[in-house]
Amino acid sequence: MEYLVGIQGPDFVLVAADNVAASSIIQMKHDYDKMFKLSEKILLLCVGEAGDTAQFAEYIQKNVQLYKMRNGYELSPSAAANFTRKNLADYLRSRTPYHVNLLLAGYDDTDGPGLYYMDHLSSLSKAPFAAHGYGAFLTLSILDQHYRPDLTREEAVDLLKKCIEELRKRFILNLPSFTVRLIDKEGIHDLEKICTGAK
C-alpha cells in the first residue's frame, strides 16, 4: 500500500515517498512524512507495519546522533546502512522482529552519493535505483528502461514523475501526493511535492 523510490545520480540521490498513513481501509493522514533525517546528509525512508516503522527509524536516528556526540564525527552512509541492517538482523530472530522495509540515501564526502536497499528480512544492497511496495512492481521496469548513471537532476525528477504517473494510472490505490527530497554535497533539499491531481 505504501511506496518508496530512490534514484542515484553521479553526484546526488533523489528519493520520494507517498504521504498516506492508513489504518485498514481508512486514510488517517494525507500528509505523513515517511523520511527520517539521520544526519545532515543521510535520509532513512521507512515503511512497513504500523508502530514498527517510527519506533525502529527513531531508534536508528537517535543512535546515529549518539555516535556523532561520542566520537566527534558522523557515520558515513555505508556505515549507517550496515548499522541499520545489523539491528534489523539482530531483532529478526527474536520474539519481536521489526517488520519494516527501508531505503537509506546519503552523500559521503569521500565516496559520493549512495542508495541502500534493505528489506524486512534484513538483506542489504547498494543499488543505483530501488523501490519498495506494490508500486515497485509497476515502476521498476520504467526505472530499468530509462535509468542512466549520468542522469542530471532534472532528468532524474522527470524519471520520478514518469514512475508516479504510472502509479496514478495503474495502481488500484489512490496515492494523492508524494514527498520528494534530494541529497547532494550541500545536504538535504526539499523539492516540490508531486501531487497526482486527484483531490
Binding site: A21, I25, K29, E49, A50, G51, D52, A54, T96
Partner: protein, 232 residues
C-alpha cells in the same frame, strides 16, 4: 447465522476528534459491546487526564481504563519530578513507548489525545499497534468510516462552536445509526486554552426522532410544492 465482515474491524465504538478555530472537539458514543451483546449502554469513553487533556478510548474497555489510569499517573509523576507539564506530543510519545512492549499481545487500545498545550490545540492518535499520528481530524472505531463520511464533507476551520458541536453530534449519530456496535448516547467535550468543558450527555434516540421529523417536513414541503406547481 452471522454476516461475515468484508475486512477485519475491531474496536466496537465510534469516537472522533477534530481541531477548528475554537479549539478541539472530542465526541464519542457510549455503548460497550461484547460480541452481539450490549454489555453497558452508558459508558464513559472520553476521560479527562488533566485540565487541558482528554483522551477518547476505543478497543478493549478494560485495557483502555487501565492505560488511561497509568497515563494519568505517569503525567502527574512527570509534573512532580520536573516541575513542568509534559506537552501533548510528549504525552503521546510516553504512552506509545509504554505500550510498545505489549505489541503482538492481545492488548488493544486506540486512544486519541485531545488537548491544548503551549503550542496550541493538539490531536494525536496512539494505538497499541505502535502507531502515533498527529493530525487535525481523527475518528476511531468500527463506526469511524461513517463518521468520516459526515466530517469530511462539512468540517471547516472557521466553524463556530455551536456548528462544530452540532457537526460532531451528527457524525456520531450517523455512525451509530449504521454501526451495530455503536449507539445509545453521545458525549461531547470541548477543549480550549482555558481547559476542557463537558456537554450534557445526549440520547441519540432524541436525535433520531428529530431527524425523522425533519425528513417528514421536507417530504411534506416537497408534496405541497408539486401540488402548487401542478395547479400552475
Amino acid at each position: 447465522m452471522t454476516v461475515r465482515r468484508p475486512f477485519p474491524l475491531s474496536h466496537g465504538t465510534t469516537t472522533l476528534g477534530f481541531i477548528f478555530q475554537g479549539g478541539v472537539i472530542a465526541a464519542a458514543d457510549t455503548r460497550a459491546s461484547a460480541g452481539g451483546l450490549v454489555a453497558c449502554p452508558a459508558v464513559n469513553k472520553i476521560t479527562p487526564i488533566h485540565s487541558h487533556l482528554v483522551v477518547t478510548s476505543s478497543g478493549s474497555g478494560a485495557d483502555c481504563m487501565l492505560w488511561e489510569r497509568i497515563l494519568g499517573r505517569e503525567i502527574r509523576l512527570y509534573q512532580l519530578r520536573h516541575r513542568r507539564c509534559l506537552s501533548i506530543r510528549g504525552t503521546a510519545k510516553l504512552l506509545s513507548f509504554m505500550l510498545h512492549p505489549f505489541k503482538g499481545t492481545d492488548v488493544c487500545v486506540a486512544l486519541t489525545l485531545c488537548g491544548w498545550d503551549k503550542s496550541g490545540p493538539k490531536l494525536i492518535y496512539v494505538c497499541s499497534d505502535g502507531a502515533r499520528l498527529q493530525g487535525d481530524i481523527f475518528s476511531v472505531g468500527s463506526g469511524s468510516p461513517y463518521a468520516y463520511g459526515v466530517l469530511d464533507g462539512r468540517l471547516r476551520w472557521n466553524l463556530s462552536k455551536e456548528e462544530a458541536v452540532s457537526l460532531a453530534r451528527e457524525a456520531v449519530f450517523r455512525a451509530t445509526h449504521r454501526d451495530a456496535y455503536s449507539g445509545n448516547n453521545v458525549d461531547l467535550f470541548h477543549i480550549t486554552a482555558q481547559g476542557w468543558s463537558q456537554r450534557k450527555r445526549e440520547e441519540l434516540k432524541e436525535e433520531y426522532y428529530r431527524d425523522m421529523e425533519r425528513r417528514a417536513k421536507t417530504v411534506e414541503k416537497g408534496k405541497r410544492e408539486t401540488v402548487l406547481d401542478a395547479l400552475g
